[in-house]
């Protein structure tokens, strides 16, 4: 499996499939009752994130609710315009292209980047039969295909995602499908666009535990078959691990808009470098009973701070058990730790003045 990253890139393929460069997404909030003359509240949903995605790559994003996973994911596939920084698709800036400033047509990019949503209930139009929903991408990508041909393709793909008899399923309405089946249809719809990247935003979280593995396996199979990359969002580290490991990709850990650690799943889980990754690891239930025997949480506070006024310095310092005075002032950058593993914590740098700093007392 080729990963269009770094050294093994050749000639014209030197550009990664998607390059996220120092991206920042800030949302302005509606003003409050007496806030007329104040600065508007700004939600810093994503802040200073850089990451590349190659061909046939997998990036699994994990993190707490509200930490900006969805926002980053949507930014990656060009659904959300970054307030700062740039996103390029094969070397062309997506938003410049959209504005018509590059040689590429935006339609090509558009169809190359697709999404599967978390909520199977709302991801399909309740008023359209499955076959109608699935006709749409074919109509868009292959306008000349006849109706009969369209159906053939749809049926075969439905069978491919495990929905047999295809004809029966195709003629149903979404409410006649189970959650897992809806998710399969959503996947089929994305695949019909023949995309380069699919954003799977918590695509399995709403499914029953016993169905999750099945769905992930299906996505992974199709990743190989269709040659697509996945940005896989999950708040569950074990799912992320499963998906990233099988897809030979990376896990990215997000905290309050920052990417705090990226790396191959096994490394990241067996040897987490960021204290927050450890927290996530702690929080992930484990059937190995001793490991799961409730230990004290490796953090000082339960609640996540408000993304409107994120803490200064390292954003995790308010909860970090290892935090020291310097963490309040300085924001650590992602540091390469070899082998694609990067983390944003002073503790990875044995020379940092962190080690001289005083621990924080609450």
């Amino acid at each position: 499996m080729s990963r269009a990253r770094g050294a093994d890139a050749d000639g014209d393929a030197s550009d990664p499939l998607i390059a996220v460069d120092d991206v920042e997404v800030h949302f302005e909030k509606e003003q409050g009752l007496f806030g007329l003359f104040d600065e508007p509240d700004v939600v810093q949903a994503v802040d200073g994130v850089s990451v590349d995605i190659g061909e046939n790559d997998v990036l699994a994003l994990v993190g707490e609710s509200g930490c900006g996973k969805t926002t980053l994911g949507k930014t990656i596939i060009g659904l959300q315009e970054p307030t700062e920084g740039s996103i390029s698709y094969r070397g062309r800036d997506i938003w410049e292209t959209k504005a018509g400033n590059t040689d590429l047509s935006f339609d090509d990019i558009r169809s190359s980047l697709q999404i599967i949503h978390q909520d199977p209930g709302s991801s399909l139009n309740p008023n359209r039969r499955i076959v109608e929903t699935l006709s749409e991408p074919i109509r868009l990508t292959h306008p000349n295909v006849s109706a009969g041909e369209r159906r053939t393709r749809i049926y075969s793909l439905l069978e491919r995602v495990g929905m047999t008899p295809a004809e029966d399923f195709a003629s149903r309405y979404p409410h006649q499908l189970s959650g897992g089946e809806k998710q399969r249809v959503a996947l089929a719809r994305a695949l019909l666009m023949n995309p380069d990247v699919i954003l799977a935003d918590e695509a399995i979280s709403a499914l029953d535990v016993s169905l999750r593995v099945e769905m992930m396996d299906l996505m992974l199979d199709l990743q190989e078959e269709f040659n697509t990359s996945f940005v896989f969002i999950s708040h569950d580290l074990s799912n992320a691990r499963y998906f990233a490991a099988h897809g030979d990709g990376r896990i990215g850990v997000m905290y309050l808009g920052n990417l705090v650690e990226v790396g191959p799943p096994d490394r990241l889980i067996s040897d987490p470098q960021h204290p927050y990754t450890e927290v996530l690891r702690w929080a992930t239930p484990n059937l190995a009973l001793d490991a799961s025997e409730a230990a004290d949480p490796p953090m000082r506070k339960i609640d996540i701070p408000d993304p409107v006024n994120p803490p200064s310095g390292c954003r995790f310092h308010t909860r970090c058990p290892e935090a020291r005075a310097v963490c309040k002032q300085e924001q650590p950058a992602l540091r390469a730790l070899g082998d694609d593993h990067r983390a944003a914590c002073f503790r990875t740098d044995s020379d940092h003045r962190y080690w001289e700093s005083d621990p924080i007392e609450d």
Binding site: E30, Q31, G32, L33, G35, L36
Partner: protein, 333 residues
Amino acid sequence: MGHYYLRRTARAFVTVFLVTSLSFGLIRLLPGGPFTLLRANLLRQGVPASEVDARIASLQNIQPDAPLWRQYLDYMGAAAQGDFGTSISLDEPVAQIIAEAVPWTVFIVLVSTVLIFVFGILLGAIQAYWEGSRFDQLVSGASITLMSVPFYVVAVLALFVFAYQFGWFPTAGTVGPTVEPGLTMEFVTSALNHAALPIFSYTITGIGGQALAMRGNSIQVLGNDYVEVARLRGLSDRRIATRYVARNAILPLYTGFLLLLGFRLGGTVILEQIFSYPGLGYYMWSALESNDYPLMMGTFLVITVALVIGVYIADLTYGLIDPRISRGETDAY
């Protein structure tokens, strides 16, 4: 995006401004211009045609020959000061006529709307509580039937039966002829007595719709977890019914309340005519009959402003009533 309340206030003003401009425009569109009837009246009284124009000018202080923009500015300026000109047919300041008429209309509209609300909600809530019961079916049937009766039909019939046949209620007017205005028992009873039938006509035809809406809302709320939880917490049925179900079922109706208010304000044109009840609608109608355009536009404007104010107040208060609606979120009305 600015302050919600300020924005809302600005919107109310802009609305009034635009409607005023619209009314100015409409006057100019009136067939034959605004002076036709007056001219005809004077002629019928034998005033020589040569004198009629001068007479109109002296009667009404209107300069029909000024350029349009000038007329517009004058009109808007005067309207801003509450001066809607002089009624042609009644030869009195429109503002004065309206000032006397407004309280009555507001009284009828408010009281009937509140009654509709209260009774509709009660009925609907009981129906929802006993969903599917004989009572529920009966009231639903009655509601639908009542909804299909126009209020003016009820008004005509009520006037005939209760006022003329039985003589229980007066047949016209706002208070008895000999009653002095003031906060006396006599005045209040007389006013209520006179308003009873108009209010009745509005109320009886409005309750049905409200009850159905309330019923639907309540059934929906009853299905919510928090009601079940409240029951598990051992709260009394009464507490649950009022604080947990009714309140949450009523809130969405609040916006409907505004629409009701609007429809009802407009409907007074018909209602007050039937009951010879000299409120805004009555004067609007009589102005219409006599092409009295200052009075017509004056009443039109005031009805509009009354509605704008009602909606405005409701918008501002909705946030207080429903904690979920923080500023800016209201799509009230």
